[in-house]
Protein backbone atom coordinates (compact mmCIF):
# COMPACT_ATOMS: atom_id res chain seq x y z
CA UNK A 1 0.00 0.00 0.00
CA UNK A 2 1.29 3.45 -0.83
CA UNK A 3 1.03 6.57 1.28
CA UNK A 4 -1.77 7.84 -0.91
CA UNK A 5 -3.73 4.67 -0.17
CA UNK A 6 -3.33 5.02 3.57
CA UNK A 7 -3.66 8.78 4.01
CA UNK A 8 -6.71 10.47 2.63
CA UNK A 9 -5.17 13.88 1.90
CA UNK A 10 -1.67 12.71 1.15
CA UNK A 11 0.22 15.08 -1.11
CA UNK A 12 3.88 14.20 -0.76
CA UNK A 13 6.63 13.09 1.54
CA UNK A 14 10.35 12.57 1.62
CA UNK A 15 12.77 10.85 3.95
CA UNK A 16 16.39 11.95 4.20
CA UNK A 17 19.39 10.83 6.13
CA UNK A 18 21.63 13.24 8.00
CA UNK A 19 23.79 13.73 4.93
CA UNK A 20 20.90 14.87 2.74
CA UNK A 21 20.68 11.60 0.86
CA UNK A 22 17.12 10.92 -0.24
CA UNK A 23 16.06 7.58 1.22
CA UNK A 24 12.54 7.68 -0.15
CA UNK A 25 10.10 10.11 -1.68
CA UNK A 26 6.49 10.07 -2.79
CA UNK A 27 3.83 12.27 -4.29
CA UNK A 28 4.73 15.84 -5.15
CA UNK A 29 8.19 15.49 -3.63
CA UNK A 30 9.12 12.60 -5.88
CA UNK A 31 10.43 15.05 -8.47
CA UNK A 32 12.67 16.88 -6.01
CA UNK A 33 16.38 16.22 -6.09
CA UNK A 34 19.50 16.58 -4.05
CA UNK A 35 19.35 20.39 -3.98
CA UNK A 36 16.00 20.26 -2.23
CA UNK A 37 17.35 17.79 0.29
CA UNK A 38 20.44 19.90 0.93
CA UNK A 39 18.29 22.99 1.52
CA UNK A 40 16.16 21.13 4.05
CA UNK A 41 19.24 19.84 5.85
CA UNK A 42 20.82 23.28 5.85
CA UNK A 43 17.70 24.82 7.38
CA UNK A 44 17.72 22.20 10.09
CA UNK A 45 21.36 22.90 10.83
CA UNK A 46 20.48 26.57 11.37
CA UNK A 47 17.60 25.56 13.59
CA UNK A 48 19.91 23.25 15.51
CA UNK A 49 22.23 26.13 16.35
CA UNK A 50 19.31 28.22 17.59
CA UNK A 51 17.75 25.49 19.70
CA UNK A 52 21.10 24.35 21.09
CA UNK A 53 22.04 27.86 22.13
CA UNK A 54 18.74 28.24 23.94
CA UNK A 55 18.89 24.71 25.39
CA UNK A 56 15.63 23.61 23.85
CA UNK A 57 14.60 20.33 22.26
CA UNK A 58 13.63 20.69 18.64
CA UNK A 59 10.28 19.25 17.61
CA UNK A 60 9.39 20.40 14.13
CA UNK A 61 9.94 23.05 11.51
CA UNK A 62 7.11 24.08 9.24
CA UNK A 63 6.11 26.60 6.64
CA UNK A 64 3.05 27.01 4.46
CA UNK A 65 3.90 23.91 2.50
CA UNK A 66 6.03 21.48 4.50
CA UNK A 67 6.35 20.02 7.94
CA UNK A 68 9.81 18.76 8.79
CA UNK A 69 10.80 16.67 11.75
CA UNK A 70 13.62 14.40 12.84
CA UNK A 71 13.41 10.94 14.33
CA UNK A 72 15.90 8.09 14.64
CA UNK A 73 18.55 10.04 12.73
CA UNK A 74 16.22 10.46 9.79
CA UNK A 75 14.61 13.63 8.47
CA UNK A 76 10.98 13.44 7.48
CA UNK A 77 9.39 16.00 5.18
CA UNK A 78 5.64 15.98 4.64
CA UNK A 79 3.66 18.23 2.34
CA UNK A 80 0.66 19.76 4.05
Amino acid sequence: MSEADILKDFKGSMTLDTEANILSSAGTLQSEGKDFAKTILSMLQDVNFITTSTKQDFKRLSNQTFVITISNNKIFVVVQ
Binding site: F36, T39, I40, S42, M43, D46, V47, F49, I50, T51, S53, T54, Q56, D57, F58, K59, R60, L61, S62, N63, Q64, T65, F66
Partner: protein
Protein backbone atom coordinates in the same frame (compact mmCIF):
# COMPACT_ATOMS: atom_id res chain seq x y z
CA UNK B 1 13.79 54.87 11.11
CA UNK B 2 15.18 53.57 14.38
CA UNK B 3 12.33 55.21 16.27
CA UNK B 4 9.74 53.70 13.93
CA UNK B 5 11.34 50.29 14.24
CA UNK B 6 11.50 50.55 18.02
CA UNK B 7 7.86 51.61 18.20
CA UNK B 8 6.78 48.73 15.97
CA UNK B 9 8.73 46.21 18.01
CA UNK B 10 7.46 47.61 21.27
CA UNK B 11 3.93 47.33 20.03
CA UNK B 12 4.43 43.73 18.96
CA UNK B 13 6.33 42.86 22.13
CA UNK B 14 3.44 44.01 24.25
CA UNK B 15 1.24 41.31 22.73
CA UNK B 16 0.26 38.72 25.29
CA UNK B 17 2.60 35.75 25.38
CA UNK B 18 5.41 37.24 23.35
CA UNK B 19 8.70 36.89 25.19
CA UNK B 20 11.06 38.22 22.57
CA UNK B 21 11.51 39.55 19.09
CA UNK B 22 14.34 40.14 16.69
CA UNK B 23 14.46 42.17 13.51
CA UNK B 24 17.16 41.67 10.91
CA UNK B 25 18.09 43.22 7.61
CA UNK B 26 18.46 41.19 4.42
CA UNK B 27 22.02 40.26 5.30
CA UNK B 28 21.08 38.86 8.68
CA UNK B 29 22.42 41.83 10.64
CA UNK B 30 20.49 42.20 13.86
CA UNK B 31 18.72 45.56 13.85
CA UNK B 32 16.87 45.07 17.09
CA UNK B 33 16.43 42.25 19.57
CA UNK B 34 14.16 42.32 22.57
CA UNK B 35 13.29 40.01 25.42
CA UNK B 36 14.68 36.52 25.45
CA UNK B 37 15.98 36.45 21.89
CA UNK B 38 19.75 36.35 21.54
CA UNK B 39 20.95 38.85 18.96
CA UNK B 40 23.64 36.40 17.83
CA UNK B 41 20.93 34.12 16.41
CA UNK B 42 19.58 36.81 14.06
CA UNK B 43 21.72 35.66 11.17
CA UNK B 44 20.53 32.08 11.56
CA UNK B 45 16.88 33.14 11.51
CA UNK B 46 17.56 35.15 8.38
CA UNK B 47 19.33 32.18 6.82
CA UNK B 48 16.32 29.96 7.48
CA UNK B 49 14.02 32.47 5.81
CA UNK B 50 16.30 32.77 2.78
CA UNK B 51 16.47 29.02 2.32
CA UNK B 52 12.74 28.59 2.83
CA UNK B 53 12.17 31.20 0.14
CA UNK B 54 13.96 29.00 -2.39
CA UNK B 55 11.53 26.19 -1.66
CA UNK B 56 8.46 28.28 -2.37
CA UNK B 57 7.09 29.88 -5.52
CA UNK B 58 8.58 33.24 -6.46
CA UNK B 59 5.78 35.46 -5.21
CA UNK B 60 5.29 33.66 -1.94
CA UNK B 61 6.78 35.03 1.27
CA UNK B 62 7.70 32.31 3.75
CA UNK B 63 5.93 31.98 7.07
CA UNK B 64 7.95 29.65 9.20
CA UNK B 65 7.34 28.11 12.58
CA UNK B 66 9.97 26.45 14.72
CA UNK B 67 8.51 24.33 17.47
CA UNK B 68 10.48 23.17 20.45
CA UNK B 69 9.52 21.67 23.75
CA UNK B 70 9.11 25.08 25.36
CA UNK B 71 8.50 27.67 22.67
CA UNK B 72 7.06 28.55 19.31
CA UNK B 73 9.07 30.82 17.08
CA UNK B 74 7.34 32.44 14.14
CA UNK B 75 9.36 33.94 11.32
CA UNK B 76 7.79 36.36 8.93
CA UNK B 77 9.94 38.05 6.39
CA UNK B 78 12.35 40.06 8.53
CA UNK B 79 10.61 39.92 11.87
CA UNK B 80 11.11 36.96 14.16
CA UNK B 81 8.78 36.43 17.07
CA UNK B 82 9.36 33.94 19.81
CA UNK B 83 6.77 32.98 22.35
CA UNK B 84 6.43 30.37 25.02
CA UNK B 85 3.90 27.62 24.69
CA UNK B 86 0.62 27.96 26.40
CA UNK B 87 -1.04 24.91 27.77
CA UNK B 88 -3.42 25.02 24.80
CA UNK B 89 -0.39 24.54 22.56
CA UNK B 90 -1.34 27.32 20.19
CA UNK B 91 0.94 29.87 18.55
CA UNK B 92 0.98 33.02 20.59
CA UNK B 93 1.64 35.70 18.03
CA UNK B 94 1.56 36.11 14.32
CA UNK B 95 3.23 39.18 12.94
CA UNK B 96 2.78 40.10 9.33
CA UNK B 97 5.22 42.43 7.72
Amino acid sequence: MDRQLADALNQCSSTNGVVGMVCTDKSGLCLKATGGVNASTAGYYRSIIEKATTLLSKNEAPKITIETDTSLTNLHSIIVVRSYRQQQNKPKVLIYH
